[in-house]
């Protein structure tokens, strides 16, 4: 089996969210980057499990600059065989998806994994776009994946429930919670990751279709009004008459 896992970096979940340059850029000052949790915990780990059971290789792919290399090495430490970095700024989802599709189109991957979404842009776009570019089926929000020969059985979150579906390789999925359990890299993995191949390939010349022009932070709450725990009638009254939510 040949599996490709798309890996993105995202700020640590406790990072302070602030902006610079007239609110047009994320303030990276003091921010630690991690592998986007959905890419790491669910996509990468399930890909590794499949290869451990069936043989094959797991390659990770990232569109980014040298600043992405530490998170790529982390993915290698968890167990991926090799990594590809397409050298360029990830301008928007369509740009990233086209770069990855361009790379993958003649390499016969059986499965391409993405995470459900990144925790910084929350776009949930790249997987579906790659699938369309490569004319493959896309199973979004997959929570379970088993494979038998060329046929995969998956569970996915849909409106109002969970769908069990069958699809033949090749296909693209976005992995959500339930797919696998997080793995902590061990010392051997970390050592091995230093010498695993990280192939940097040039980006193809493309234009992005969207640009973030500015960021803003939500307005702070006016402050909490405390209610006597004995007096829930007052709370109900406030929710009805003041907040008008019931």
């Amino acid at each position: 089996m040949k599996i490709l896992v798309c890996i993105s970096k995202s700020p640590d979940t406790t990072a302070k969210i602030a902006f610079t340059d007239g609110n047009s850029k994320f303030d990276e000052n003091g921010v630690q980057y991690i592998v986007n949790p959905y890419d790491e915990w669910y996509a990468l780990v399930r890909a590794l499990e499949l290869v451990e059971a069936n043989g094959g290789t797991v390659t990770t792919i990232t569109v980014g600059t040298a600043a992405d290399d530490p998170t790529i090495r982390k993915a290698l430490a968890i167990g991926a065989n090799d990594a590809v970095r397409i050298d360029g700024q990830a301008l928007d989802a369509s740009y990233v998806a086209k770069q990855i599709s361009e790379y993958a189109k003649d390499k016969n991957f059986d499965i391409i994994f993405t995470g459900k979404e990144t925790i910084n842009y929350n776009g949930a776009q790249v997987g579906g776009m790659i699938a369309e570019n490569l004319n493959q089926p896309f199973i979004s929000l997959a929570t379970k994946l088993d494979i038998n020969g060329e046929t995969a059985t998956l569970e996915r979150d849909v409106q109002g429930g969970v769908e069990v579906v069958e699809v033949n390789t090749p296909f693209v999925i976005s992995a959500a919670k339930g797919m696998a359990e997080q793995r902590i890299p061990n010392m051997r993995g970390i050592m091995a990751a230093r010498t695993k191949p990280l192939n940097v390939v040039p980006a193809v010349d493309l234009e992005n279709l969207t640009t973030v022009v500015s960021y803003s932070l939500p307005e702070a709450k006016e402050g909490c009004k405390y209610i006597d725990p004995e007096n829930m009638d007052e709370l109900v009254d406030l929710l009805h008459n003041q907040s008008k939510v019931i």
Binding site: T13, I17, F19, P37, A93, S94, I119, N122, G123, Q125, G127, G128, M129, E132, N135, Q136, P137, F138, I139, S140, L141, R156, V158, Q159, G160, G161, V162, V164, V165, V167, N168, F171, S174, K177, E207, N208, L209, T210, T211, V212, V213, S214, Y215, S216, P218, K221, C224, K225, Y226, I227, P229, M232, D233, L235, V236, L238, L239, S243, V245, I246
Partner: protein, 315 residues
């Protein structure tokens, strides 16, 4: 501007679908594309929210994302729409990006308000799991916008709609649906207007009765913090937060949840937040509109009684 709105309508047109139709009609002349065997009577409501025409394709399987993409593409061609609008629900996440790639359209996912066309075409969307908002400029001629459920209140226009059967070559469906396991009758979490949520402070799964009772009285959907789902006290689909589901209900009641930054990320878009916690120092109070410093085991049943009394007084 001509707009195509994609909706999924099983037996009834959902609120999320009406949000999308209403959103589209505020941008321009709106055609709606849908599929399945919903009756024309049920579909008529689309007209009241600004959908001028409905195109319906009968008999197609929704998990066939490629077929649905082809359907939307054919409807774009036939209606001449330059903007495609859909809901950022599970189906929207599966179809929206494909449609965008097929049309070579810029895609804004999770839009929270109407586009601003005073300077190009800009749309606001949630980023950093709700910790911030981004204004996204779309440069392409065609645009695909998926809107976050509960961001736009559907508004009646007093119009009506015509319904036309629509046929198109959809190609092969490569995904075979074997089984659908429904999650009960309740309103799905991302669309719920009222949510009752609980965390580790509830001490064990056997204590969730008081959470469910309150949710039942309110007609609310239940949610939980991540550790509670991880240890299996509650199902994964209830997990809200940065690594779970992001929600923006009108009312979010949180009992026995400390309010860690990763939890807040997924719920701070809620209009009103009520926090119930024994610890007056719990960080969640900083994000709350109403706070109750008290024991959830006493406060939740008391709140339930108060809501029942309120409902009786309303009848």
């Amino acid at each position: 501007m001509s707009v195509l709105v994609f909706i999924e309508a099983k037996n009834k047109v959902s609120k999320a679908a009406l949000e999308a139709v209403s959103y589209g009609s505020k941008i321009g002349s709106t055609t709606v594309i849908t599929f399945g065997d919903i009756s024309s009577d049920e579909l008529a409501i689309v007209g009241e929210y600004g959908g001028e025409k409905v195109l319906i394709h009968r008999g197609i399987n929704k998990s066939n994302d490629q077929q649905l993409t082809n359907l939307i593409h054919a409807a774009v061609e036939s209606s001449g729409a330059t903007i495609v609008v859909l809901s950022q629900d599970q189906t929207g996440k599966s179809i929206g990006p494909r449609v965008a790639a097929k049309l070579n359209a810029g895609h804004v996912s999770g839009a929270i308000d109407l586009p601003d066309t005073s300077n190009g075409f800009q749309v606001n969307t949630n980023v950093f799991s709700g910790k911030a908002m981004a204004t996204v400029a779309v440069h392409s001629d065609k645009k695909v916008i998926s809107i976050l459920p509960n961001s736009i209140s559907p508004e009646k226009t007093g119009g009506s709609t015509t319904i036309e059967e629509f046929d198109a070559d959809l190609g092969e469906g490569k995904i075979v649906v074997k089984e659908m396991k429904t999650q009960g009758e309740g309103i799905p979490l991302p669309e719920a207007e009222l949510v009752v949520s609980a965390g580790r402070g509830l001490k064990g799964p056997e204590n969730w009765g008081i959470v469910e009772d309150l949710a039942k009285t309110l007609g609310a959907t239940t949610a939980c913090s991540r550790p509670v789902a991880d240890i299996g006290w509650r199902p994964h689909h209830e997990h809200v937060g940065q690594t779970g589901i992001a929600i923006r209900p009108n009312l979010y009641i949180a009992a026995g949840i400390s309010g860690a930054i990763q939890h807040l990320a997924g719920v701070n878009g809620s209009k009103v937040i009520v926090v119930i916690n024994t610890d007056a120092e719990a960080p969640f109070f900083k994000a709350a509109d109403y706070g109750v410093v008290g024991d959830a085991f006493e406060v939740l049943p008391r709140l339930n009684e108060a809501f029942k009394k309120f409902h009786n007084s309303q009848n």
